[in-house]
Amino acid sequence: MRAIVAVLMIVAAAAGPRLQAQVEYNARLGVTWATPLIRDEIVEEVELRQKLAPTLSLGASLPIAPRYRAGLEMMLTSYGYRASETATSTDLGTLRTGSVTLGLHGPIAANFGWRAGAGLLGYWPKDERGIFLRGGTTRFLAGAGVDFRRPVWSHWEMMVSLGYDFHRFTTEELQGRGFSQSQGVQRISAAVGLAKGSR
């Protein structure tokens, strides 16, 4: 993932001034909710779930057609995660995720627009234990979202975003223990921020 970001930064830096003038940037802060990472059954059902996560999103896009733009988005989250079983709940520490997605943006109507893309999502646990005993994991990610924009002053727009993405989750430790397939994890995020660009 770092390699992808590095390549894109080099491409952006190497782009001419005319191209740079058409680049639009945005930064948003929000929260992300996610479905459980694991559903296991040891006597009773055990569910490993992420808490509501503060989220920072950074994006950039370039026009590729009169109505469409190609965009790169990074999303960073940091949150606690816990295991729950019937009446007990155990905090397992802090988990950070970072995703990079490449996608398309287009208009819907008035101030609304859509975006869809695919990329990679990395899990970086603070402590390597439990399901992350053999380290974090990187997974493919696909998602889509809706953005609302409203001009606030010259070249600046307020941006409200609602996003959805999904990926299949597993770790090397889980695979080593005989967990087969992977867990479908869906995330919904809401964020507010600013966009600066050429519109």
Binding site: V43, G130, L174, Q183, G184
Partner: protein, 220 residues
Amino acid sequence: MRSRQRLLGLVTGSVLVACADIAAPSRGDAYEWRRLQGTSSGVDTLSFHWAGADLPVRFWAEDSLNLPAHVQGGIGRWEAVFLYGEFSGVVVSDSSTADVIVTTGIAPKGGFSIARLESGFAPECQGATDIELSSNGQQILRPIRVYVDPRFAPGSPGVDDCMALTTTHELGHALGIFTHSPDPEDIMYADPAVSALSRRDRSTAELAYHTEPTLTIAPR
């Protein structure tokens, strides 16, 4: 029309893929970890695991024969068994605050209300775990005492390895595995010969920590 059906199929397929759950492995290979104890009215089942409120379990190790390192290693091996934070332990310097005390030497002769779990068949060393119950038999009294002792002079071939695996074995008893595995490939076999925990050891510990225990630990 056909393209709409394809799109609908793609969306439906994506949702099904996104919603599918991971398939957990079976823990059916676990061995019996509970102690069946005869009473005047029949058989009583004794089972125990450390509750979340008691974690991390505090271990004290005598500073002799590399025991602190063996205890630290044993804690690490048992912690690695669990996926969901069921157990954690620390080594403490003050024995008066310990939940489990690990010393060298032979376990003293009984004469008190104790369940003694021994592994005394290895040629190089031996171990025992004493778990003392309250007068009503419902609570385990702190501290649990673990004894590990070399049969030969320290430094003799195989003694340190034996001390390490026997410590891990005895810590397994202190965690709540009150019986021995029938399989020599398991660390909880009565005469342990392997240094790593097996899949059966792992399944057994996981089941023990997700089954309601009959015993609790007395308050500190």
